[in-house]
């Protein structure tokens, strides 16, 4: 892939009104992103906006961190050209555990992904892992997943609100090799997969206006919305 292909990242933000948009732009200008590479669409009476930034080389995480200076909980990555994937943890026997994991390329040109997600219903997150498995076959519970793929194990950590979060960077993987494989939660030293899901192609730029979980490990925008996102699909 030529290295000068521009990539778009879409970030959702909570804002205090349209007067904040100029401040967002100038903050992005400070890290070298010109105005013509920034597109902002407001919604919900200027209480939320979608910021789309076109960049050749800047990692999305740097853009996200810049926007987080407006408030960490107000910013969520929601799309990354065609290079993002999502897994909903809804397959398996444990009815209490559920979650959403997102995978985003760090940049368009190099391997390396960020794994980011929230999992509910685990009592002791610190001795649990999220692992990537070879196959995405859930026709027999979590038994058809094969082996762990390329030693991809990620530790869960507990957060303030009682959920578990995963945030990890893996420089050996790329999105494209993970599509159709799976992730599952298991306990350290025990070969039982409690809950899993297939890693699938996620919506791209401006395709995700519905409910979703965020790539920053928190939820969009709060605990209640996330519950809706996970349970609302059966409605």
């Amino acid at each position: 892939m030529p290295s000068d292909i521009p990539t778009k990242v879409e970030i959702a933000m909570k804002i205090d009104g349209s007067q904040q948009l100029e401040a967002i732009k100038s903050r992005l200008n400070e890290i070298g992103i010109k105005n013509e590479k920034i597109q902002i669409v407001t919604e919900k009476n200027n209480k939320e906006c979608r910021v789309v930034v076109e960049t050749n080389s800047k990692p999305w995480i740097e853009i996200q961190e810049t926007l987080q200076t407006f408030g960490e909980k107000r910013v969520a990555l929601v799309g990354f050209s065609d290079q993002s994937a999502v897994a909903i943890l809804d397959k398996g026997d444990d009815l209490n555990i559920k979650g959403v994991i997102r995978f985003c390329s760090i940049s368009a040109n190099k391997p390396g992904i960020v794994i980011d997600g929230v999992v509910d219903g685990i009592e002791s997150p610190d001795d649990h892992f999220l692992s990537i498995y070879e196959y995405g076959d859930f026709s027999d519970g979590c038994h058809g997943l094969g082996n762990i793929y390329k030693d991809a194990n990620y530790k869960l950590t507990s957060n303030d609100s009682g959920s578990s979060t995963i945030r990890s960077v893996d420089h050996n993987l790329n999105i494209h090799e993970l599509i159709g494989r799976s992730v599952a939660i298991s306990k350290a030293n025990e070969n039982i997969k409690f809950k899993g899901g297939i890693i699938s192609r996620a919506a791209g730029i401006f395709q995700n206006w519905k409910k979703f979980c965020a790539c920053d490990g928190t939820t969009l925008w709060d605990e209640r919305d996330r519950q809706t996102a996970i349970s609302g699909r059966n409605a």
Binding site: G136, F138, G146, G180, I198, A202, N208
Partner: protein
């Protein structure tokens, strides 16, 4: 001669993105429904051969139901967030046999009096290889019959007017049962085969 070139182009286009050990089998477990369940399995012996599809579904109403591959495998908003029919070439909606069809247009499945579908067929358009692979996308079963783009309904050429989305499932990689598929044994192998074909093609052109 022409066929050689065509085979070369097809092989190159579908295998060029291929990876080592990329499997040629996939499965979608249909869910997100209280009533409709099923498995859809796909197998493709090599990248330039047809995909064999086996469909087993229970819990449908008797009759025809639209059956499509949708673009995304994103179920964070239920079956709705899987996007439209997978249609990378921006063609009109059609029947499985039509040349003018979406890649994801698999027509209808027909449920018997007990609401069961049990069928299998091969399709030449979908693939499990390369950037146009259906892996990671979703299978959706619709409430109504797909009109295959044949009616005057405004949605006929877009969706086949097949109604709501009854059940869906993400197409995931299935453990390959056979070890040595062509086109999956690594890029060096692949490069060699492509070069060989290219040489043959060039030689044939010269004579």
């Amino acid at each position: 001669m022409k066929s050689l070139v065509i085979i070369f182009v097809i092989c190159l286009s579908c295998c060029a993105y291929g990876e080592d050990n990329k499997p040629a089998k996939a499965i979608a477990v249909l869910g997100f429904s209280d009533k409709v369940f099923g498995n859809v399995t796909f197998s493709q012996p090599s990248c330039h051969e047809a995909v064999f599809i086996q469909i087993a579904i229970v819990g449908l109403t008797p009759g025809k139901h639209g059956f499509h591959v949708h673009e995304k495998g994103d179920l964070s908003g239920g079956c709705v967030s899987t996007g439209g029919h997978y249609n990378p070439d921006k063609l009109k909606h059609g029947a499985r046999e039509d040349s003018d069809r979406h890649v994801g247009d698999l027509g209808n499945v027909v449920a018997d009096q007990t609401g069961t579908v049990s069928t299998s067929y091969s399709d030449n358009v979908i693939t499990l290889f390369g950037s146009r692979s259906i892996i990671g996308r979703a299978i959706v079963v619709h409430a109504a019959e797909d009109d295959l783009g044949r009616t005057d309904h405004p949605d006929s050429h877009k969706t086949g007017n097949a109604g709501g989305r009854l059940a869906c499932g993400i197409i995931g990689i299935l453990e390959p049962s056979d070890v040595d598929w062509p086109c999956t044994s690594g890029s060096s192998h692949l490069g060699l085969a492509s070069v060989l074909l290219l040489v043959i093609a060039v030689i044939s052109f010269r004579f």
